[in-house]
């Protein structure tokens, strides 16, 4: 074995050990979701493998006896709305700050971005009153309105970086060819920046699904909760945790997000490292 081959195998083994440890919770979710209760709660059993035949009982229970499908739908609606609001508001702002030579554009960009660093835990108490006065208390629309406060500042910053990287000559060529500036933006700048738009949209979607504090304080009825909140609050009765259902819910709600994120990961990293901080 050459020195380089040895190095590659050492890397593979070290990474393998790390990943085996950090991916274990996912294995644990998976195996718990398909184990019978008897199997789960018999202490003599080997917890790492099936001691009885696997069951779909927890998943069926989740869809038939809980509001799990409602929570999934709520999360999807909230996610799509937050992405739409974020892109509609952040794209023009990002473009204008990057491209229109506004006096103080960079300072404004930084000021908007600074609000991204104001954490939800500093705002949630007054926001409960704001949401209440808007009449959005205990509705999914409270989250549709409030969650873009996290995604807009970041998306403006991200898109600013992307639009700065679009060569001016390309846009100017469009203008010379008789496009209006609006047409030039729609037909030339936005398609070139689609990686940035995808990253910003993905980020907004992730924010809305990751959010926990805002859903926790703005929604209380079972029927209006997003899935991340519903699973961890409503599958517990008093002190009794329904672990099979909990893990099935975490798996079904979490896996699509994880897969989606993986698809967009490179765009996202490019957005953060290449777009904004270069």
């Amino acid at each position: 074995m050459t020195h380089a081959q040895q190095g590659a195998w050492t890397r593979a083994v070290l990474m393998g050990i790390y990943v085996a440890i950090t991916a274990f919770p996912f294995y644990w979710m998976f195996i718990t979701a398909f184990k019978t209760n008897n199997d789960l709660y018999t202490l003599a059993n080997n917890p790492l493998w099936f001691n009885e035949l696997p069951t779909f009982g927890h998943i069926i229970y989740l869809f038939q006896n809980t509001r799990f499908s409602t929570w999934m739908l709520n999360s999807a609606i909230i996610g799509v709305c937050v992405v739409a609001i974020t892109l509609v508001i952040a794209t023009p702002a990002g473009y204008a700050l990057a491209r229109l030579d506004l006096p103080g554009a960079n300072q404004m960009g930084i000021a908007i971005f600074a609000t991204y660093l104001v954490p939800p835990s500093l705002l949630f108490i007054p926001l409960t009153r704001v949401v209440y006065f808007l009449g959005l208390n205990n509705t999914i629309w409270s989250l549709v309105v409030v969650l873009p406060t996290i995604s807009i500042p970041f998306a403006v910053w991200l898109l600013m970086g992307f639009f700065k990287n679009v060569p001016r000559e390309i846009e100017d060529a469009g203008l010379v060819d008789g496009c209006s500036r609006f047409q030039a933006v729609m037909q030339i700048v936005l398609p070139i920046s689609k990686a940035g738009l995808a990253a910003a949209g993905m980020f907004a979607f992730a924010i809305s699904l990751q959010a926990f504090l805002y859903p926790l304080v703005f929604t209380s009825s079972t029927s209006v909760k997003p899935v991340t909140l519903g699973v961890v609050t409503d599958l517990i009765r008093g002190d009794i945790y329904y672990w099979g259902e909990l893990m099935a819910g975490a798996l079904i709600a979490g896996l699509p997000v994880a897969i989606l994120f993986n698809v967009f990961l490179d765009d996202f990293v490019e957005g953060i490292t290449g777009g904004a901080f270069k």
């Binding site: 190095g7 593979a12 070290l14 990474m15 393998g16 790390y18 990943v19 950090t22 991916a23 274990f24 919770p25 996912f26 644990w28 979710m29 718990t32 917890p47 790492l48 508001i89 023009p92 702002a93 204008a96 700050l97 229109l100 030579d101 506004l102 404004m108 609000t115 660093l117 104001v118 954490p119 835990s121 500093l122 705002l123 949630f124 108490i125 007054p126 704001v130 309105v145 406060t149 500042p153 403006v156 992730a206 990751q210 926990f212 504090l213 926790l216 991340t228 699973v231 961890v232 945790y241 893990m247 709600a253 979490g254 997000v257 994120f261 993986n262 990961l265 490019e270 490292t273 901080f277």
Partner: protein
């Protein structure tokens, strides 16, 4: 043209002004600014006002000056929350940086199975934290803890293992572990992106000049990735110091407030306890530290942007 209906020239000049990039530009930025002012700026000011009043959910409240801040500072649970917030912030951040840099170097080269390992590697960061934390709760839960089961099997613990979530120090360790577990993939990938951007001939030149790996690391690589690492560090610190999801789900701040953190305590007092004023005061105790970290971040970014 000017002799036509009176409104026309006015309309035209308005249209002309709007098409001029400067006015149009500010108009395009306006919605973002309004959104941010209405739902971040205003609540922040409202929160400061609440903290100076005895507002509860039931009553509007009157001005009480700094009473809430003084009362809170004498509260033993608050002291515990400050201590734990700082411990978690410092220990988890140190662990995240060390692991992120080490793993970024591991992933820099090719190795068998790299593709699938990368997918598994980023899983902790991609799944919503509330969902992974509930899985951890089930892994740590007293009687059925699979963590105990495995550690006993490989001889690291003796039966009956550790009551992870019911004992002060192990509970803190569990919170720090989950927080670190979650953040490392993002940190490592960010550092990796920084490393990939380093031209190999720079490192090669240092090697030819006789620099050992430690010298190459500290003199060549660190200065190049330091800016991105510094920003990632400040951001992470801001979010770790103000986070409550892991504590809320994993321990609820327990046992007996031994893992209580500021954000979770603000929630307990301000929302569950309906004492909006006191809750706001607890949350605002985070502000000075956040302000320092934010200003450091922004100055750093401004410098990089050449302003």
């Amino acid at each position: 043209m000017a002799t036509l209906a009176r409104g026309v020239p006015v309309q035209r000049s308005l249209a002309h002004r709007l098409s001029a990039p400067r006015y149009l530009g500010y108009l395009l930025v306006l919605p973002a600014i309004v959104y941010v002012l209405a739902l971040i700026g205003f609540p922040l000011v409202l929160g400061v006002w609440y903290s100076l009043t005895n507002t509860t959910v039931a009553q509007p409240g009157t001005f009480v000056g700094l009473k809430n801040f003084v009362d809170v500072a004498k509260d033993p649970t608050f002291i515990l929350a400050v201590r734990n917030t700082l411990i978690i912030g410092i220990v988890a951040t140190a662990a995240k940086i060390t692991l992120s840099v080490a793993l970024a170097f591991l992933m820099l080269g090719a190795f068998p199975g790299r593709g699938i390992m990368r997918i598994l590697f980023v899983l902790p960061w991609t799944i919503p934290i509330a969902l992974s934390t509930i899985a951890y709760k089930w892994m740590f839960i007293s009687q059925y803890s699979v963590v105990n089961w495995m550690l006993i099997r490989i001889g690291l613990l003796s039966d009956p293992g550790i009551n992870w979530l019911g004992t002060a120090v192990p509970a803190m360790a569990a919170v720090i572990f989950v927080s670190t577990w979650r953040a490392v993939p993002f940190g490592a990938i960010t550092v990796l992106a920084g490393l990939t951007a380093i031209p190999t001939d720079v490192i090669e030149a240092a090697r030819i000049d006789g620099a050992g790996w430690w010298a190459r690391f500290t003199k060549v690589i660190v200065p190049i990735i330091a800016p991105i690492l510094f920003i990632a560090l400040l951001f992470d610190l801001i979010f770790t110091l103000t986070e409550l999801t892991v504590v809320f789900i994993l321990t609820g701040g327990g046992p007996v407030d031994q893992t209580q953190v500021l954000a979770n305590y603000a929630l307990q007092v301000g929302v569950n306890g309906t004492q909006l004023g006191q809750g706001a005061a607890i949350a605002l105790y985070m502000l000075p530290v956040l302000l320092v970290l934010t200003i450091m971040s922004l100055r750093h970014i401004a410098k990089r942007e050449g302003m």
